[in-house]
C-alpha cells in the first residue's frame, strides 16, 4: 500500500530519474487519492500516450529497483486476453500498472481533465487526472478486487454523478472493448442498492447492447 504523501514523494523522485519530460494520465486509486477520495492505494495506474513514453518511465523506475512482474494474480484470465493490458512493475508492496493509450481496449481521452499535478525535478512529470465519471467507468472495466469499493466511494449517493457521461463514454468505447457495456451494467446494478441511478440510463445501455 502507498499513502498520498508517499505517492507524491515517489513521483517527485521519479521526476529526478527521468531522461525526458513526460505527460501521463492517472486513473484508478492514484487519481482517487489525488482527488481526495482515498488515502492509500495498492497500485499506481498510469496511462501513457505512446510506447516510447512508457519505456522512458520504466527506465526511471527500474533504476529505483522496480521489476516487471506477471499479470497472473492481479487480473482475471478474461482481462488478460484483452487488448490494452498493462505492464506491471513492483517493488515490495508498491506496484505500477502502466498502460499505453487504452485500458483494456477502452481509449483514454486526455483533453478533459479536472486536475493536473506537476512534479518538477530534473525533468518534468505531468500527471493529468480525469473526471470522476471516467474513473467510475474505468474501475468498472478493470474489475479487480476492491474496485467496487472504490466505485462506491466515488459515487456517494449517486446524485453528483453525471450518469449521462458515464453511459455515453461506455457506448463510445464499445468498439475497442465489447464487454464494456456488460461490465458497466453489472456495476450499476450492484450500485443501485446504495445509490440513485435513474432507469433511463439502464435503458440506454440495453438499447446500445442490441
Amino acid at each position: 500500500m502507498i499513502g498520498t504523501k508517499d505517492q507524491e514523494e515517489l513521483f517527485r523522485l521519479i521526476a529526478d530519474y527521468l531522461d525526458r519530460d513526460l505527460v501521463c494520465v492517472a486513473i484508478g486509486g492514484t487519481a482517487m487519492m489525488f482527488s481526495g477520495y482515498k488515502n492509500a492505494t495498492k497500485d499506481i495506474d498510469l496511462v501513457f500516450a505512446s510506447e516510447g513514453e512508457r519505456k522512458a518511465f520504466v527506465r526511471a523506475i527500474e533504476q529505483l529497483g522496480y521489476r516487471q512482474r506477471g499479470l497472473m494474480d492481479v487480473y482475471t484470465q478474461e482481462r488478460r486476453k484483452k487488448e490494452g493490458k498493462p505492464q506491471l512493475y513492483a517493488r515490495g508492496e508498491e506496484r505500477f500498472d502502466l498502460f499505453v493509450r487504452s485500458v483494456f481496449g477502452f481509449p483514454i481521452a486526455t483533453k478533459e481533465i479536472v486536475e493536473r499535478r506537476d512534479f518538477l525535478g530534473k525533468k518534468e512529470l505531468l500527471i493529468r487526472i480525469l473526471p470522476k465519471e471516467d474513473l467510475i467507468l474505468l474501475k468498472a472495466v478493470t474489475g479487480r478486487e476492491k474496485d467496487f469499493e472504490d466505485i462506491e466511494a466515488l459515487t456517494g449517493s449517486g446524485k453528483d454523478v453525471d450518469w449521462e457521461r458515464v453511459v455515453e463514454q461506455a457506448i463510445r468505447g464499445k468498439k475497442g472493448n465489447e464487454w464494456i457495456l456488460l461490465d458497466l451494467e453489472q456495476t450499476m446494478q450492484r450500485l443501485r442498492k446504495k445509490a440513485f441511478i435513474p432507469q433511463k440510463y439502464f435503458d440506454r445501455l440495453y438499447e446500445a447492447q442490441e
Binding site: 489525488f34 481526495g36 481533465i113 506537476d118 518538477l120 456517494g156
Partner: protein, 159 residues
C-alpha cells in the same frame, strides 16, 4: 467523527454554521478547526472582513499552480479550468508557457500580464522550445508589449 461525517457541504459564516449544527459559538469554532485540519474546510476573509467558511465533502489541498500565479499577478482574473498542484519549483516562466498551451483567448489575455514579472528570459525560451511553443510565445510577447508595460526581451531571444 459522526458529526463531521454528516456535515452538509457549502458556505457558512460562524453564526449560520453554529445554528445549523445546533452548537454554541465556541463549540462551532472547535468543530471548524477540526475540519480545517482534515482539509475539509477553506476560510476566506478575516480581519475587518467577515470570515466565510467553505466546507467540502472531499479533502482538498490548496492549489499552487498556473491559476494561482495568474490570479496573483494579472488584473484579469481566471476561473480555473482544472485544479493545478505543483511539487517542485513552478515559476512565472512555467506559467506563461502553460498559459500559451491552454490557449483560449481569456487565458492568453491574462497571461500577457505575467511578462511584467519575468525573472529569467533564458528559462522562458528554454521551456517554450522544449514544449514547441516558441512562435506562439513571440506572438504573445509582441501583443503584450503593445498593451502592457513590460520589459524588453534581450536581443539574443528576438525572432
Amino acid at each position: 467523527m459522526d458529526n463531521i461525517m454528516t456535515l452538509k457541504p457549502g458556505k457558512y459564516t460562524l453564526e449560520t454554521f453554529a445554528k445549523h449544527r445546533g452548537l454554541k459559538r465556541q463549540s462551532a469554532l472547535n468543530l471548524l478547526s477540526k475540519l480545517k485540519k482534515q482539509g475539509l474546510l477553506q476560510v476566506a476573509g478575516g480581519g475587518r472582513q467577515k470570515r466565510i467558511y467553505t466546507i467540502s465533502d472531499t479533502p482538498g489541498e490548496p492549489t499552487n499552480g498556473f491559476y494561482d500565479i495568474v490570479n496573483k499577478y494579472s488584473p484579469e482574473k481566471l476561473i480555473p479550468k482544472f485544479r493545478h498542484h505543483v511539487v517542485g519549483r513552478y515559476t512565472i516562466e512555467h506559467a506563461i508557457v502553460d498559459g500559451i498551451q491552454i490557449g483560449d483567448i481569456r487565458t492568453l489575455e491574462a497571461t500577457m500580464h505575467l511578462f511584467r514579472h519575468i525573472s529569467s528570459w533564458k528559462r522562458l525560451f528554454y521551456l517554450a522550445r522544449k514544449r514547441g511553443v516558441e512562435k506562439e510565445l513571440h506572438a504573445l510577447y509582441t501583443a503584450a508589449r503593445k498593451r502592457v508595460k513590460c520589459k524588453a526581451v534581450p536581443r539574443r531571444y528576438q525572432p
